[in-house]
């Protein structure tokens, strides 16, 4: 398992580099598909079967398809290689180095908290049920009892609809908003609301532009115009 995990992680990293460094947009997209897929595998190795599925369905299946579709629509030209002397590039590399070093050192030396319950509040008990291993360094994976009896998917789903019902509902709002937004932004102008004055910005002091729907609007504007 360890070897499998290590291999997946290395492949993920390489695929991720493909996203960033591919000159062709479509290669980037394909690399991202690869990365996402490899991450799904990693999730599976980490006993997160539910997420494995979601990752594949939502990301690889929907999001990336959308990307590819847009790429096809817009047909971007290939990009020239970023110069190594670009300060942004240097900064990015330094950031990678810095963060990786910090994370690595910290995670090896760091102390992870033991979350043991001290009171009998619902929240705490809940945490104790699934989260509190006496020694988190001992194993990866869910508490044996829960996973053996119900499985990962059930456990997560159960949490989603009980403890995390509020965030779950919020996601629905997010999706709704995204839908409205996408529709609004992409559809052609509709109805009586006229386009603004062609995006042109008349010089200050210029004469007011006469617009055809002026009269209608005047009635609309609270308090009237002019």
């Amino acid at each position: 398992m360890n070897g499998l995990l290590a291999g997946t992680l290395i492949l993920t990293a390489i695929a991720g580099m493909g996203v960033v460094f591919s000159p062709q947009t479509i290669y980037s997209a394909l690399s991202l598909v690869l990365t996402v897929g490899l991450l799904a595998v990693t999730f599976l190795i980490l006993n997160a079967q539910f997420l494995f599925a979601v990752q594949l369905i939502v990301y690889a299946g929907a999001v990336m398809v959308l990307f590819v579709f847009i790429i096809a629509l817009l047909d971007p030209a290939s990009e020239e290689r970023p110069r190594l002397t670009d300060p942004r590039f240097v900064l990015g590399i330094l950031a990678i180095a810095g963060i990786c070093a910090a994370v690595f050192v910290a995670s090896r030396n760091g102390v992870t908290y033991v979350t043991s319950c001290t009171d009998q509040s619902a929240a705490c008990m809940h945490g104790a049920l699934v989260g509190a291993a006496s020694d988190p360094y001992n194993t990866f994976g869910f508490p044996a009892a829960a996973v053996n009896q119900a499985g990962n998917v059930q456990t997560v789903a159960n949490q989603l609809f009980h403890t995390y019902v509020l965030p779950f509902e919020v996601t629905s709002l997010v999706l709704l908003v995204a839908a409205i937004g996408a529709v609004y932004l992409t559809r052609q102008t509709r109805g009586a609301a006229p386009p603004p004055a062609g995006g042109a910005r008349p010089e200050p002091g210029g004469a007011p532009q006469e617009l055809p729907e002026e009269r209608v609007e005047e009635e609309l504007v609270a308090g009237g115009t002019r």
Partner: protein, 504 residues
């Protein structure tokens, strides 16, 4: 269910008590859904009805929030299993957000009509953003925080680009979207670290975990800092502010007015909750960063605003600077009630004042374009004396002159800094405030100078009932917060008095 009955799974089910805590958000969200439907049936020339409906919903939510202030009581509680705090802090911020939202809705129809942007989606999105902000203000779990931020951000991305055929608006939207997602990623990664190192996403438990902690955890502080970066982006604190001027300028002004104020209020509310309460134990770790960001914000915001020529951009930079001042209160807010009280007072003051200032820009808008250049302001006094006086008043308040709301905001955060033995921080505030007076007053003076001849010949739109009432309301609020200080200050004290409900 029988299959699962014997399993050691969570069986906690949300009940009515949970819903009561979330009632204002639920009302607003319901309004959001209804608005989408109503948009389909309301004829285009009657879209002002949508505004009226939104206002009604917001008023309802406001009423419920006010009721919630008393219902939650001094102690407050969390609902939905530690996901949302039903306490006075959230009630206070909810009220501020709802009021700003209400005022934004009121100025919108006139403005949108003049810009040719009057679509029903506008109100729906505004309502969604409001829901996101209220959720954010009350969020008591990292997950809800992230989702609320995304909800309000996505709504605002779209609203920024609401002027679909205007390049500036679209550009603003793309900038906001890309940078906003970028910042969200930072926030998320920070949350992942915090979650991982404490084992929890609920703030209550994070706080108790931190209290129990023995030796320091570098990854945890790294996560804390990344979370802060994410929030700093939302409150547009320097050096994470770069999106602000461009987006404020490009977005339709009514949207700018709304997002410059409400987003900041919500984000600061959550910043206070997360940092001054949940992360209080790690105060010594994160406070240098917050202080640094506060100072950089004050310096960059005020100095950059000096040489602006667009009111919207100037107000954007001013907003960055104001974020710095509020951050003073946050930075010294741990164990120092005055810090949080000051920040809350400042938020309320800033909300009214800045909204008023942007409202002036909206009522100045003429057909099809924003009139936000300094040249457009010149001679406003001669065309629209009351608007000019109101604008002057808002600018004075932003500059922190006495008898305006801004003064007591500044006073309280500086007092908090000094009480927190951080005189240097207050000194930075003082020095940059002095600088800020220059650009505020420069604009104020412009309004009272004679306009050029051709400008005078131009027929300027009238303020209108809605715009006038918004200006009146904001000006009155600014005045009340500047004079009847105990009124709001007591409220801020009460709001501050509760920590995260349930925390030890």
């Amino acid at each position: 269910m029988s299959l699962l009955a014997g399993l050691p799974l969570a069986t906690a089910t949300p009940g009515g008590g949970d819903l009561i805590g979330l009632l204002p958000e639920v009302i607003a969200a319901g309004g959001f859904l209804l608005l989408m439907l109503a948009d389909l049936v309301v004829p285009p020339e009657r879209r002002t009805w949508l505004a009226a409906f939104s206002a009604l919903v917001l008023l309802g939510a406001l009423g419920v929030s006010l009721w919630g202030w008393f219902d939650a009581g001094a102690a407050g509680r969390t609902v939905y299993f530690g996901a949302y705090a039903y306490d006075r802090l959230s009630a206070f911020t909810n009220c501020v957000i709802l009021v700003t939202s209400l005022l934004s809705v009121t100025i919108s129809p006139g403005y949108l009509n003049r810009r040719g942007l009057h679509f029903g989606e506008y109100y729906a999105l505004l309502m969604a953003a409001t829901v996101g902000m209220m959720l954010l203000a009350g969020a008591a779990s990292l997950m809800v925080i992230f989702l609320a931020i995304e909800l309000l951000s996505i709504s605002l991305y779209i609203l920024s680009g609401f002027s679909r055929n205007e390049e500036r608006s679209q550009e603003a939207a793309v900038k906001y979207l890309l940078l906003g997602s970028f910042a969200s990623a930072f926030l998320l990664f920070g949350m992942a670290l915090v979650y991982g190192e404490t084992g929890h996403t609920q703030l209550v438990q994070i706080a108790s975990a931190l209290n129990r902690s023995g030796p320091l955890d570098p990854l945890l502080v790294g996560g804390v800092i990344l979370v802060f970066v994410g929030f700093a982006f939302k409150v547009s604190a320097a050096p994470f502010h770069f999106w602000t001027p461009d987006v404020y300028q490009g977005a339709p002004t009514s949207v700018t007015a709304f997002m410059s104020v409400a987003t900041k209020v919500a984000a600061f509310a959550v910043l206070i909750r997360v940092f001054d309460y949940a992360f209080a134990a790690d105060y010594s770790r994160w406070s240098p960063v917050v202080i640094a960001v506060a100072i950089i914000s004050m310096v960059v915001g005020n100095l950059a605003a000096l040489t602006q020529t667009s009111v919207k951009r100037m107000l954007a930079y001013s907003g960055i600077a104001q974020a710095g001042y509020i951050l003073i209160g946050v930075a010294v807010g741990v164990g120092n009630p005055l810090g949080v009280q000051g920040a809350l007072y400042y938020l309320a003051a800033y909300a009214l004042t800045n909204l008023g200032a942007f409202a002036v820009v909206t009522v100045m808008t003429r057909r099809g374009e924003d009139m936000d250049s300094y040249d457009h302001l010149r001679g406003l006094w001669f065309r629209r004396p009351y608007v000019a006086v109101a604008m002057g008043f808002f600018l004075l308040s932003l500059g922190g002159f006495p008898l305006t709301a801004g003064f007591f905001g500044k006073f309280l955060v500086f007092a908090a800094a000094i009480e927190g033995h951080n005189v240097a921080l207050a000194m930075w505030g003082i020095a940059t405030s002095a600088v800020s007076i220059f650009y505020y007053l420069r604009v104020a003076i412009l309004m009272f100078q004679r306009p050029a001849e051709e400008e005078r010949a131009y027929q300027w739109p009238r303020t209108g009932l809605a715009g006038g009432s918004v200006l009146l309301a904001t000006a009155a609020g600014t005045l009340i917060l500047g004079t009847a200080v105990p009124l709001v200050f007591t409220v801020a004290q009460l709001a501050q008095a509760g920590t995260i409900p349930g925390a030890t």
